[in-house]
């Protein structure tokens, strides 16, 4: 099935190019939409497939923008509307009108409705909040901590920085590595057993976006600490306050930042 999308893109390209020669903006528009759809669906030849939600957004944007583009100049816009006007108004297009307006379009609408309501065994698509909002206060082993403004106390101990990172490394390999992976890329041995998969720490879009206080809260509280809006049932992260001391949590946080080259978000 996947192999069909490049062919769809090529068909779109051919329609688009030929309609340029035939000076038909409407079919150029149709061709371009088919081309863009085919290309977006073919993305998995060079990267993981684009999610359906993103493709839908891009296509909606594309339809909106290209209608705008083809209606800038009066003559182009008239030519753009011409096939539709002709289909619904010309006497010699009665048969085509019958086919398109009374058969093809209702069938297409029917198919869309069917596709929308047909029973499926897939769980519903969910909009997951990857960085949920932390509470302003939390309880850590009976100690009340203000998450707001919470700082890693070990950062001040610059003399023992390397030692703390080293300790963090040990803790990581004893507790986190199975899920978050040897390369801290979220691809641990048992990562595939979970849905959603564990977070990677590399790259610019996870821990690099967060202050250490946030990471401390997530490590300490795991899925149990997530607010209801963030779907606590949607995470397999254990509450590490049950297994680690406060100092150990800070040490492992230092390790994951240090080994990925990321810096905690701060205002300094």
């Amino acid at each position: 099935m996947q192999k069909i999308y490049p062919i769809i893109a090529i068909i779109g390209l051919v329609i688009s190019i030929s309609s340029v020669f035939k000076k038909s903006p409407f079919f150029n528009f149709v061709g371009l939409q088919i081309l863009i759809y085919g290309l977006l669906k073919s993305a998995d030849y060079i990267m993981p497939a684009l999610p359906a939600q993103v493709i839908l957004m891009y296509m909606a944007m594309s339809v909106f923008s290209f209608i705008i583009y083809f209606s800038i100049q009066e003559e182009t816009f008239k030519a753009f509307l011409e096939p539709m006007r002709s289909l619904f108004a010309d006497d010699n297009k009665k048969f085509l009108r019958l086919i398109i307006a009374f058969i093809a379009l209702p069938l297409f609408a029917g198919y869309l409705t069917y596709a929308k309501v047909k029973p499926t065994y897939d769980p519903p698509v969910s909009a997951r909040i990857v960085h949920p909002e932390p509470p302003s206060q939390m309880d850590f082993k009976g100690k009340t901590m203000n998450v707001l403004g919470l700082e890693n106390p070990l950062r001040k101990d610059t003399a023992n920085f390397a030692k703390n990172v080293e300790e963090g490394k040990k803790i990581y390999y004893q507790n986190c590595f199975f899920c978050h992976g040897d390369d801290l890329d979220g691809k641990g041995h048992i990562a595939d057993a979970f849905n959603p998969v564990p977070l990677p720490f590399r790259g610019t879009d996870t821990i690099a976006q967060l202050p250490e206080s946030f990471v401390f809260w997530r490590v300490a509280k795991g899925w149990r600490g997530l607010p209801a809006g963030s779907g606590p049932w949607n995470s397999s992260m254990p509450s590490f306050e049950d297994f680690l001391t406060e100092e150990e949590v800070w040490q492992v946080i230092m390790f994951i930042y240090e080994s990925t080259g990321n810096k905690p978000r701060s205002w300094e």
Partner: protein, 582 residues
């Protein structure tokens, strides 16, 4: 709005406001006696839709109208000033038309404000008691300023023709009106600022310093953001009004005038909107520095999806604006020479739009989540601020170029260095784009503090420098230029006017959604961290529900605006131009 003398107009305004305030206090008194006492927590429940949705709709409607009546006077007075200095009758007419619009809108604003004034103390008495305890004096100041503003506004409007030979004084009165407007804005922003980023109180809500309770983290950035947004919004409404009048116009003369009015209003709206991303950024920085948790919630947590929605809507607004400018080339003699550039601007806009709306966290099916992981390796990179800021700056630059092209399309430079000037223009455009792109890529490699505090401001700085440089260059290059013909005002297809209406409807909806986000940032607090919301509504509604509420109030707002437009047209028919007596 038949012709009315200054004295009569002024008396009418004061009576109207006093009656509305009187009604409010009477209702408050009567309702306080009639309604059952509030619950132990200090709440009453509004029937059917609940207190929150009721106050939400009324407050947002009031804010929409207030934005309009505070925003429009800024450029109405600017137009009058220009008409006075240049002795341009057409500018005077447009300034008067704007004034007519906002003066009439004052009544609706005050009426909706009255409803809010009744609703809040009745439905949330304990919360309002707290607000009065902390910021009470500002409330009395607000009433005084409101009276002064209404008097100045009515005087400004009704003395228009009478003071036509004394324009300087009249413009000064307009200036005073705007000063009053800004003071009103500062007072109301102080209330919202206190609720969201409180200061000057103890943990139990006891007042420690009233000035600190006013001067919160959010106060000034929110005020600046609202001030700019009010101008954008007010000008947008004026553009919609002009578009509507263009569509229903019966003579070429009217069509030409309203085409010009629509263009002028739309350009003011878009001109000011250039500042909004930067000012919004400042507001975001202040929220983060007040409370990182709130910042995370607004930017990356529950509300992250609204930024995607915002991107879709602002992208649509910019597309509408560019569309309007591109279509306007049709009415410029010589405009056809520039159509060849439109496709490049379009592609730039399209790519910028695509990056801007790419979400960071994507809604995934089980299968997609398994294949992709948490973040898509490519889309994930487009979803962060480094990419967004770059896309925003480049799309705004493209929009400015569309405007510049429109402005120069009926001119031909005659200066000896025209070729060099064109090369310089190309260099500025390409150079600034390349710099913005390089800074955008470099943003991925630095800490967030460097990105937020240094690189992003530089990106916006490069953008502003580029448009200032282009502006100066074009002014020098086209000085004494050969004019190929005057713009054929009125020769615009109707669809271009729907683009103007589309801009304003989208903007109104966006304001509603962003208002929901700003308010929702407090979560289950009336005053964040100080006074908890313990009402049955102390939960965040879903985005879907918020969209429905926002859509309904947008429809109500435009229905009321439609009534306003209809009223103006009817009164014009009844009594000539209507309004102030000469």
């Amino acid at each position: 709005m038949a012709d009315v003398s200054v004295k009569k107009g002024l008396t009418k305004g004061v009576i109207k406001l006093t009656v509305l305030l009187g009604i409010s206090f009477l209702f408050l008194f009567v309702l306080g006696k009639l309604l059952p006492t509030p619950t132990e927590d200090g709440y009453r429940v509004f029937p059917l839709i609940g207190s929150r949705v009721w106050v939400w709709i009324i407050a947002q409607l009031h804010l929409n109208f207030a934005a309009f009546v505070l925003g429009v006077p800024i450029f109405a007075v600017s137009m009058e000033f220009l008409s006075w200095r240049r002795s341009d009758e057409r500018l005077d007419r447009i300034a008067y038309d704007f004034t007519k619009l906002f003066t009439l809108a004052y009544t609706i604003t005050a009426a909706v404000g009255t409803l809010l004034l009744i609703s809040l103390p009745v439905l949330y008495p304990k919360f309002m008691d707290h607000m009065m305890k902390i910021l009470g004096p500002t409330w009395w100041l607000y009433i005084v300023v409101m009276y002064v503003e209404v008097m100045v506004c009515y005087y400004y409007y009704y003395s228009w023709h009478k003071m036509k030979d004394n324009k300087g004084t009249h413009v000064a009165i307009g200036g005073l009106l705007n000063i009053m407007g800004v003071i009103m804005l500062l007072i109301t922003s102080a209330w919202v600022g206190y609720m969201t980023t409180p200061a000057g109180v103890s943990e139990t809500g006891e007042l420690l310093s009233r000035w600190k309770a006013i001067k919160t983290h959010m106060w000034i950035p929110l005020s600046i953001h609202r001030l700019c947004a009010n101008v954008v919004f007010g000008a947008g409404i004026a553009a919609s009004y002009a578009a509507y009048r263009f569509i229903v116009a019966e003579t070429d003369e009217d069509r030409a005038y309203y085409d010009w009015m629509g263009y002028t209003s739309a350009m003011i709206s878009i001109g000011f909107s250039l500042i909004l991303p930067g000012v919004g950024y400042l507001l975001g920085v202040e929220i983060y520095s007040f409370n990182e948790q709130m910042g995370i919630q607004l930017m990356g947590g529950f509300f992250a999806w609204l930024w995607v929605m915002q991107a879709i809507l602002i992208g649509a607004i910019l597309m509408f604006v560019n569309y309007y400018l591109w279509i306007s080339l049709n009415k410029m003699p010589g405009g056809e020479r520039y159509f060849k550039y439109v496709k490049y601007l379009f592609v730039t806009m399209l790519l910028g739009y695509a990056v801007w709306l790419t979400p960071h966290s994507v809604a995934l099916s089980l299968d997609e989540a398994r294949k992709m992981g948490t973040y898509h390796p490519v889309l994930g990179n487009l979803g962060v601020m480094a990419a967004k800021n770059t896309a925003v700056v480049i799309t705004y630059l493209a929009t400015f170029l569309s405007f510049a092209i429109f402005k120069m399309s009926n001119k031909e430079a005659v200066v000896s260095w025209a070729k060099l000037g064109n090369a310089l223009r190309g260099l500025i455009v390409i150079g600034s784009t390349v710099i913005v792109l390089i800074l955008g890529v470099y943003s991925y490699m630095v800490s967030s503090a460097v990105r937020v505090k240094i690189l992003s401001p530089i990106q916006f700085g490069v953008f502003f420098l580029a448009i200032v440089a282009l502006f100066i260059l074009d002014a020098k290059m086209f000085k004494g230029a050969k004019i190929l013909g005057e713009p054929r005002w009125g020769k615009m297809p109707e669809r271009s006017q729907y683009a103007l209406i589309g801009i304003t409807v989208t903007f109104t909806w966006l304001m509603g959604m962003m208002g929901y986000m700003r308010s929702g940032g407090r979560q289950y607090w009336h005053v964040y961290g100080i006074m908890q919301d313990t009402s049955p509504d102390a939960f965040l509604p879903t985005h879907g529900f918020a969209s429905v509420v926002t859509s309904i109030l947008t429809v109500i707002f435009f229905a009321l605006m439609g009534l306003l437009f209809y009223g103006i047209m009817k009164l014009e028919k009844k009594g000539g131009q209507g309004g102030a007596k000469a």
